[in-house]
Subunit: 531 residues, 2 copies
């Protein structure tokens, strides 16, 4: 498949050569899209607009950050905004279609789709917040011990004090211990940076490497296509150069080193490549990289003097029979290769799904000490990330051990979540593959499926006549007809001429069955309508 | 004073004309400073360095973001790092001076210096985290009602779900109500953006306006001198142009419109001025702007088509007899002037001091709707700020009302904090003014004093011989001798040839007395040594 699509890849990459220059066409498209969003958000926008138009504005779409205009973040884009609007309509008793509920399969937001928090995490955070609970006999002893230890490292023993910009020392030490236990190789706690979710540390790292000099080439960042749009959005916002390497859909979204070489070589004319981003387990692909593949990737990065950002936030989400998570740190250590690696983890995914707490970390391996010091200085102006988020993260990197009072319940709750996700991973892929015109790879890990859809020519024409991308048109129609909210593949990137969408596997099992039934009917009606 | 220093101001502003171009001198200084920090952080750095030096690094101080190298954030700079090192030594039984404790007067970190959290906030957060507490009879009814309301607006009724990128709707509505009640003018909840502290929304706004175009002038941001270094650090990091306007120390740090005009006019040759930052009550100055002053500032901004960022995080911290806080929004509304205003507030200051929770908001007034939509789109890639921080903020913008079960305790705790701060504001200014060679303006508001110190010529020479700024030399010697940690004035900006430092007024009253005694003795010994 990759082979056969080589010419279209090349054509596509040619057409994006100037993707980091100001591009009026894209900006105008974005403005049109914003008009659309604005109308959804505020039905009175027309009126509001005319009031303020009489006034001279200091900030206009012509003089603000043009990168901000170009950036797109599909996971929270127009379809998701429309879903919110429909939810408000449903609350008011108005249904735009034959459904009474929006099914939010657009974002990896576990608790929002009904997953329950782990008792241990919530007990620790509650006691760390409301210290009188430490006297409450209904809380287990290990919860109380944990809280006392954590607070002894907080200023004034309060979760209300700022932490160090890099995070609370004891939590950083626990993260290092977790990594050491996971990989069997040492981890230096002073290489650990705690952050408000993995996104924050990834954005900070991209900012660190973004050295824009007048009349010089932009800094290039290699990202997989399809990718999680945090990357394309941040690269666009920071005015960096996106180097797209394509994953091989026909081989379960695996990563082909020849494709890495191709994309890197073609990019050199336009940028200075400096970073290779790898998402493993994959978002949106649901794939897991083999150890052999990781070895090749590391050697490739070393050969080309690239830093690796390993987005490993789904390291606990492994479902496929026999599949295993191999961290980049471990494989690199085994190889004895030294290159800059930042491995990122989050409290928002895995079996805990505590997105709202905003916890995460990055481990910075083999950084030049001066560069690391500059990075830590950069972080200092942001003061610190949520102390309660850091405390939540501590519960995951240092979970209750066998024999601890909280151990059995923690284990039970963790396994229940992971077993259910495993079941749903199979249901989703199997159902999509049973629908003619949809093809879905195995959901081996993470929380998403990224199926390919064959769209009829008439539907493509219809979408184009509306100024919409065909998969956007499909996804919006799905939402309006069934209440199912997914994200079109164009938000993640795909080989031109192919169409996909991303769905999470998060809705509860009973709802998932309903969702699959509705989806199947919608797709067949859609094909019928546009055949 | 301003008058008499005009020539030195001009000389200074001339010398910073190229302050946003790559400046090798500054970068080299920063590198030297980093070496210093690194040695403090990691005594083995030499050894570590030599190991990794054999290896080729993808990221070096020559190829990473050069703005990151130049930026400085003194509030967490080398003196504070040294303070942390001394604390570790003290823990190990080693004292570098004649003291057994570091007094942290360097940062507005209320809980770290002993302030206790407000019961209501902590109860609400604990119940929102650990929902079984909603059944606990020892929690007041209004706490439980609040939690149920807030959770009804969270995905899956969990604080673990992502919120909207702009924040939870009901909290945004409560912020708008708070502003309306404070000012007597309408506030649209859709103009409210919740954020992880005020810093985050301020940084996002500066990123929004930062339109860098090749071969064009940089975007200029007017900031007061002295200023809170979040501004200088972010402006440097983003490669924007800092326009420094000087506050008038001889007139209680008031803001002179002529000085605004001077700095703006001089800057036009070097940048495109777009933003005026005002900090009120002032950090580090402790001053409060009069209403007349605010009227003039707004008219100045309107005349010059500037957006105003009003950093109003200390709006609850008003101590001086007869002084009053006037919000920019209110004064602007009274004037009937329409210009872009972002007013920022934080959960970290005031009487709550919940820094670690990371809560804050910005109100965006009179923004072009398209520009606002682009700003909200930018925020979406960061997903959301801490939901528990948002919940904490809710408790402050919608505190218990008279008659509510939590009202009396809330009021009592709030007043105790503010009364104590008021007392300490007086003690600090009076003590400094009793020391020959130190002159301190009234601490009318906020949490800081910024006294001027006369340094003997010999001390200045000594500092220069060490490659240090004289006030840095003074502050480091104070720390090493007494354990008192303050921040040198050079971190905030000052008229060249003058020397200051910033201290907080946060240490507990009994410690404050001790600190003042030690300070007095240190200063007299210092003068003696270098006379």
């Amino acid at each position: 498949m990759l082979q056969s699509n080589c010419s279209s890849i090349r054509k596509f990459s040619d057409s994006t050569k100037s993707n980091n220059r100001i591009n009026n066409r894209i900006i105008n498209q974005s403005k049109a899209l914003l008009g659309y969003q604005q109308e959804i958000n505020n039905p009175k926008s027309q009126q509001y607009s005319s009031t303020t138009m009489t006034n001279e504005h200091a900030l206009t779409t012509d003089n603000i950050n043009q990168n901000a205009i170009r950036m797109e973040y599909a996971v929270r884009g127009p379809i998701v905004i429309r879903a919110g609007e429909i939810e408000r309509q449903l609350r008011d008793g108005i249904s735009p279609g034959n459904f009474d509920k929006v099914i939010r399969a657009n974002i990896g937001d576990c608790h929002a789709t009904g997953q329950k928090p782990l008792t241990f995490i919530r007990q620790v955070i509650a006691c760390a917040t409301e210290n009188s609970l430490l006297e409450n006999s209904s809380y287990p002893a290990d919860v109380k011990e944990r809280v006392k230890l954590l607070l002894s490292y907080c200023g004034g023993k309060s979760a209300g004090a700022y932490s160090e910009s890099t995070g609370i020392e004891i939590v950083r030490r626990h993260v290092a211990d977790y990594i050491k236990e996971r990989d069997g190789f040492d981890s230096d706690w002073q290489n650990i940076v705690l952050s408000g979710g993995a996104s924050e540390v990834i954005r900070s790292l991209l900012s660190l490497v973004n050295n824009q000099q007048p009349n010089e080439k932009l800094i290039g960042v290699m990202i997989p296509i399809p990718q999680y749009p945090l990357y394309s959005a941040t690269i666009a916002e920071y005015g960096m150069h996106q180097i797209s390497y394509y994953l091989d859909e026909d081989k379960e979204w695996s990563l082909d080193i020849n494709e890495l070489e191709r994309s890197l070589n073609e990019s050199r004319a336009h940028c200075k490549p400096r970073v290779l981003v790898v998402i493993n387990p994959g978002n949106p692909t649901g794939s897991i990289l083999s150890k052999e593949n990781i070895v090749e990737i590391i050697k490739f990065a070393r050969r080309n003097n690239l830093m690796i950002i390993a987005d490993e936030v789904y390291q606990h989400n492994i479902y496929a029979q026999g599949a295993q998570f191999h961290s980049f740190k471990k494989v690199m250590s085994e190889l004895g290769i030294e290159l800059e690696l930042a491995s990122c983890m989050s409290l928002s995914k895995g079996y805990m799904g505590e997105c709202g707490l905003r916890g995460g970390y990055g481990e910075l391996v083999n950084f030049d000490p001066q560069v690391k010091a500059i990075f830590y200085k950069m972080l200092s102006a942001k003061l610190c990330c949520s102390v309660l988020g850091q405390i939540g993260l501590d519960c995951i990197v240092n979970p209750p051990k066998a024999g601890d009072p909280s151990y059995e319940l923690f284990k039970k709750e963790k396994e229940a979540v992971l077993n259910s996700l495993k079941k749903k991973a199979e249901i989703v892929a199997n159902t999509f593959n049973s629908i003619p015109g949809i093809k879905c790879n195995k959901v081996a890990g993470a929380m998403y499926a990224f199926p390919k859809i064959d769209l009829p020519e008439k539907a493509i024409k219809k979408a184009e006549s509306l100024g919409q991308k065909p998969d956007f048109f499909y996804a919006m129609k799905l939402l309006e007809t069934t209440g199912i909210c997914i994200v079109p593949g164009s938000g993640f990137g795909q080989i031109p001429g192919t169409y996909h969408f991303r769905t999470t596997i998060l809705p509860p099992e009973e709802q998932m069955q309903d969702m699959m039934t509705k989806f199947t009917k919608f797709h067949s009606d859609f094909i019928e309508e546009f055949k």
